[in-house]
Symmetry: C2
Subunit: 473 residues, 2 copies
């Protein structure tokens, strides 16, 4: 691999001539910070292209001059994919923020064409305005942008029903590392003409090209919705309950989130203003269930039937079925504030893992005792149970802080990731590899797959300019 | 690219030593024929490995000796992906037929692990035995094998609800062109650890590696099903009716097939034993609708509500709602025999196309008159309307035969494919490129995507041994 060069003054002068009118900005702090403030990036300059042609010209110039490029969306990634650390060659940050137009909405086709810089909440709103649903939904939806969401194959709370970001894409427009534009904004549900470049770019975290726009699938809006928080006897009971829910409403279950009592205890400790739903204190395990049904079926009645069947089978002990939109909001508020409470407590180590569904209960049973062999911890285990995706986060004991566990942190991570790997699970379910998990990928990844990934990277980006150091070393 | 060598006697002797016990067979006719008998393949020998290790050793030997390999599933492909024509280097056919075990079924996870040689109908049966549904369903399911179905990203009648073959896969085991094995049989719904090699292999038609097993998604079985054949006033009315069906039952619509009267006329002409559902002769346009609902909703009642709403909006003129499983079967028999009737009539030219949903009616309106400028034809247009996928087939006038239109055939194909391309559609919706549509891919494919495909092919298969001539020249 050739040596990379900094995006220095001479390069920026050349770039200005090659791309007349290109907006070049100094590197404001927001471009080199990350949400958990754990590490910082470095860059020479930020460019904010206005359209795909400008993106193509910038990439062409970077390829010719061997200048590294970090594509930048909303900056909400949790694994450092958007931050290149201080190093030999200072990169150019390419921010898609000005390419934020919804180009087209086709309600009768359930399709929208949106540019990479669109904020997720704006895309959701544009879909709602057309009487449709854009189902991707996650905590950072007020700032995360479509390009980054696709580049990282983001997940969230509705994956169970609608799939992850990958499943929302019909077509892409993207600039490849040689500066050519792939005009692939097809609005087709079936297209078997050649290799699946779309899915290769989705999830490649900016290392194989830059997504500039996407044809996104929309869904019909459910006619009615219902939400319940149900106390379950165990994680295994929660899984059995999910099967029961599916028998009752088929694909009508939109979210099925596992919550442990620790999450509500943390809320009580750090965010007392969040209304807590259990008068007598929270149960050990809960699930938050969302139904969205078509007309002809009352969702609250369906939820009541689920509650009764779950109780009859000994899976459900207690429950709260929201009777109004305000009550639905209150139940979701609990779930959505747990990450904030976690941040306030300050985790020793956080893990975004997935497991074969059937292994989730056993994993939860054995992980706690294994960690206890290292030290005493508080554990907050919650997440998207329907997808087998847990956020398994490890916290200091009361009176201690994150800093007291510097020595244990690597052991905790290794212990949990080894366990996950042993169950055939993944050490990055929805956050991606970025720069934080490159070593994990090397340790746990399949060697043949890794070799294929390296060959693909070298073939499409021989100069190695696209987000260097992310995903692959 | 280096020159390829035939799988000659010396190579087969070496191969026998390198893979003790490998089953080598002469080339029976079935390996070099294709379903429509339009062209033939050639090969030096057939190997039938018993397991993934044997596949890996065979591929390694072929790579070392630069011997071309044609992966072989059920031989049901319609675009010649499984047939290498007579040429300089006679290939080895690698048939997966002996790797036909269902390795594992996990009903509680809705997952099955099946080897590539499993016949689709057997996989469906194994799922049913576990109380689950494997939703991939198509005409050749009695002989098509899982490996080929995934390699071609097959479609069929349930794509509308469950997605194409791609959407059924959680993980893969595959042998890459260098003979390494990718052990990727993960049973995970979320796994963001690196590039999407899974989707790259799915749909690559055996040119990037050989799928040897897959972790497949299963679905819960609907509690009740209903089928109707409804007379619609136009293709546009059919699309409006689909939107109405989705409002009524959400994801509960499993199939939504458009049928033109020509299909039923062809049935009457060639297969009079197939029971025809319309006493007074068929309407101009029909849709065949399948609902599969969870408990708590009667599917026949839902179908009646759909019929009434469709009639009230002027979309539906008449209809037959099946009142028994036998009647459901009769309605589906009509749809499933149309391809056979087509073969008996003998098409001038057949087209597996897809369009943006909203463009389907206009395409149908303009395509007929455009073709009439070339000559007079009979047209049978039918297919998976919910996916925007039409089988638009052009037939001789009564008294004439396919052979009478040799001159017009290229014009017909060009005329229709140009039109499809102009609408932003695809000239291969579900059958793939194979060897039949390589020139179409070059004509209509995006140049940047094609260059990326060639770079990926060269990177993963530098010797060019994997199914040479398929997809890419």
């Amino acid at each position: 691999m050739t040596q990379l060069s900094s995006a220095d003054g001479a390069f920026l002068d050349d770039l200005g001539r090659a791309v007349p009118g290109l907006r070049v900005r100094p590197v404001e702090a927001r471009y080199v910070e990350e949400p958990r403030d754990r590490w910082a990036g470095a860059a020479a300059a930020v460019v904010q292209p206005a359209n795909v042609d400008e993106v193509a010209l910038v990439i062409r110039a970077c390829t010719d001059a061997r200048v590294p490029v970090v594509p930048y969306g909303g900056g909400t990634g949790l694994v450092g994919g958007q931050l290149m650390p201080e190093g030999d060659a200072a990169p150019l940050i390419l921010s898609l923020e000005r390419m934020n137009a919804v180009r087209d909405v086709h309600p009768s086709e359930n399709v929208m064409v949106a540019e990479a810089g669109c904020i997720l909440a704006d895309v959701q709103a544009a879909a709602a305005e057309a009487g449709r649903l854009f189902p991707l939904s996650l905590a950072s939806e007020g700032s995360a942008r479509i390009g980054g969401l696709l580049a990282t194959n983001a997940g969230g709370v509705n994956v169970l029903r609608y799939g992850n970001a990958r499943a929302q894409v019909l077509g892409l427009e993207a600039v490849l590392p040689d500066g050519t534009v792939w005009h692939g904004l097809k609005r087709l549900h079936k297209d078997n003409t050649g290799y699946d470049l779309r899915n290769l770019l989705v999830g490649s975290e900016g290392t194989l090209g830059i997504i500039t726009a996407a044809a996104l699938k929309l869904a019909p809006r459910p006619a009615g919705e219902a939400t319940a928080m149900l106390a379950v006897t165990s994680p295994r009971a929660a899984l059995d309950l999910l099967a029961l829910v599916r028998e009752e409403v088929g694909e009508g279950v939109s979210a099925f989130e596992l919550i442990h009592r620790a999450g509500l205890d943390f809320l009580a400790e750090t965010l007392p203003e969040v209304k807590r739903p259990w008068a007598d204190g929270p149960p050990e395990w809960m699930v938050l269930v969302d139904l969205g049904l078509s007309r002809g079926r009352d969702p609250v009645a369906a939820m009541e039937a689920i509650f009764e069947a779950g109780a009859a089978e000994g899976l459900v002990q207690d429950g709260i079925i929201a009777q109004s939109e305000a009550q639905r909001r209150e139940l979701w508020d609990v779930r959505e504030h747990i990450p904030e409470a976690n941040r306030k407590i300050g985790s020793v180590s956080s893990h975004d893992i997935s497991l074969p569904l059937g292994s989730v209960p056993e994993f939860i049973e054995v992980a706690g005792p294994k960690l206890a062999e290292i030290a005493e911890f508080r554990i907050n285990c919650f997440g998207h149970l329907g997808d087998g995706n847990l956020h398994y986060n490890v916290f200091p004991m009361p009176g201690k802080s994150r800093a007291d566990y510097e020595e244990e942190r690597p052991q905790v991570k290794r212990c949990l990731h080894d366990l996950v790997h042993g169950f055939g699970g993944s050490v990055s379910a929805e956050h991606g590899i970025g720069r934080l998990k490159v070593a994990d990928l090397e340790r746990y990844g399949d060697p043949a797959k890794l070799a294929a990934m390296r060959a693909i990277k070298a073939a499409l980006d021989p100069a190695g300019i696209m987000n260097p150091g992310a995903v692959l070393r």
